[in-house]
Amino acid sequence: MFSFEVLFGQLLVGAILLGGLYALVTIGLALIFGVMRILNIAHGEFIIFGAYATYWISHLLRFDPFLSIVLAVPVSGLLGFLVNTLVIKGLTKSFDAPIVSSFGLLLVLQASMLIAWSGDPRSIVTPFTAESIRLGLVLVPIVRLIAFVISLSILMLLYLFLTRTFAGRAVRAIAQDSEAAATLGIPVQRLQTFTFVLSTCLAGLSGGLVAMIVSFQPTLGPEFLLKSFVILALAGVGNIQGIMAGGLILSIAESYGSFFLGSGLRNVVAYLLLIVLLLTRPRGLFGEKQVREV
């Protein structure tokens, strides 16, 4: 039995599952942008690096892919720490220095990965690949479901960390006003380093999950970056619920957009959505009203 409703439902399920992962892909970029005021153009490369780290750990050590992700996260974090110490720390406050610098970083990371691991598309095969659960008339792919559940739990943990713990509140204080936070005795520099490392860990984690769903290659980074931009613009800076909703809206728009307009225009839908949003809701759909800076 095959009907339009089933197809519609199938698209919706796929979109919801993907939306959770999109939110996880974005959260690293959002954290760095919120806390350090740095638009990290190399964010996509950290995601791809996480994918490769997971791939190689499971490939070379013959570990289970999900266990490999757990090991790949600290590896990504280490890369983030190095990058933060060598490149990001001590950049001037002007807003285009970090953008250009992280673009240089994008080149370094992307070209290094191309040289080291070639441009061949790879993917991670899990024990559940190509298996799905039947839910009524709709099929739910198991790997996507697992990725969705992991993404959602990590985002919830992060939310609890940022709202319920002292360190999390300090991070949010820096995001609001780093100078005022410094005068209150919050170690701004140290927490910024922490945020950067945390973001790259999250990027690595999302990369590992992405690699189980689609095939990846070193040049795919900018695509994830642009998706993150869209979600960030949807959400506005500094709220996790907004980013979750943004991920969902983007994936639903993409799924139905590519279904009705053809898959070639999938990304056009995302970009146009972003531009319209930027123009009409510059603080994001769920952004807080803020006093305009002078």
């Binding site: 220095a97 610098s101 240089g104 080149l107 225009l265 990304n267 972003l274 123009l279 510059p282």
Partner: protein, 299 residues
């Protein structure tokens, strides 16, 4: 000085004789330098971080390809490309009300959206048939004239009140607006000027290549490389982008010929280091600060 440089620019094909490599290399140099100067109008003087520069370039190259294949003279097609780029600038202008990072994201996405949309229609690009009597040397002369025109335009902007308006917007929008600078007017003016010149470059580049694939003419390199050149050389001046272009292309080609395999990695590192240690640009840091050369400027 300027006259000698201009004369040298035109003498290159004569000196090179039939050496196609030198003419091709000069063409590339002139292309990027002109792009850097035109990006500088928006990104350097007016301080709007435009990441959609490639959109002007690509739209113009496409217009040229379509109009030339429809039977128009190629250089008229280049002009049509420039006008199409003005249209693109006007289409992009609503984004100017966004600030800083958001303007950058918006322009970048707009460019990508156009690229993907065109790729959907013309997946393999458009081929052009060469026009009788227009060789690469003529194309080079056309581009060299354009380069000098943009230099003169920049020079005139530097000497006029327009620069004051642009720079005041860059330094502090609210104060500029409070002092009676019409923000919308001057931002759009900067974008249109920048777009027009970029469009002309895109047009002549497309004709010189005789092949216009969307993947290539809308590529982000047409945005990022001019941006680097301006930042390396120093923004909002005539000499900055010129020197930045020479340094950039120098480093790039030296790396290409020496460490070919890892040239992009090394290049990325150079960019990171320059921004880290000389955030004001190479020229500002070395010439102005170290040697104490005074720059006659109001900023």
């Amino acid at each position: 000085m300027a006259t000698i440089a201009g004369a040298a620019l035109f003498a290159i094909p004569v000196v090179a004789g039939g050496n196609n490599f030198i003419i091709a290399l000069s063409f590339i140099f002139a292309t990027y330098t002109t792009l850097a100067l035109s990006w500088n109008i928006v990104g350097g003087f007016a301080g709007q971080l435009n990441l959609g520069h490639a959109a002007f370039f690509g739209v113009a190259a496409y217009t040229l390809a379509l109009s030339t294949n429809a039977g128009m003279h190629p250089y008229v097609g280049v002009l049509a490309g420039g006008i199409a780029a003005i249209g693109m600038a006007l289409l992009m202008s609503p984004l100017l009300k966004l600030r800083g990072d958001y303007f950058a994201i918006g322009t970048l996405s707009l460019t990508e959206a156009i690229k993907v949309a065109i790729l959907n229609v013309h997946a393999y690009g458009i081929r052009l048939t060469p026009y009788q009597g227009l060789s690469r040397v003529q194309n080079y002369y056309f581009l060299a004239t354009l380069l000098i025109t943009v230099c003169v335009a920049t020079f005139l902007i530097e000497r006029s009140r327009i620069k004051l308006a642009f720079v005041s917007i860059r330094e502090n929008e609210a104060l500029a607006s409070g002092s009676g600078v019409n923000l919308v007017k001057y931002k759009v003016l900067a974008l249109v000027l920048s777009g027009f010149f970029t469009g002309l470059v895109g047009g002549i580049y497309g004709y010189n290549l005789l092949y216009v694939p969307a993947e290539h003419v809308f590529s982000i390199e047409w945005t990022i490389i001019p941006l680097f050149m301006v930042l390396i050389g120093g923004r909002g001046t005539l000499t900055g982008p010129l020197i930045g272009a020479v340094i950039y292309l120098g480093i790039y080609y030296v790396l290409q010929f020496t460490v070919t395999e890892i040239s992009l990695v090394v290049f990325g590192l150079v960019v990171v280091l320059i921004i880290k240690f000389m955030p004001q640009g190479l020229i500002e840091t070395l010439v102005v600060k170290k040697l104490g050369v005074r720059r006659t400027s109001i900023v």
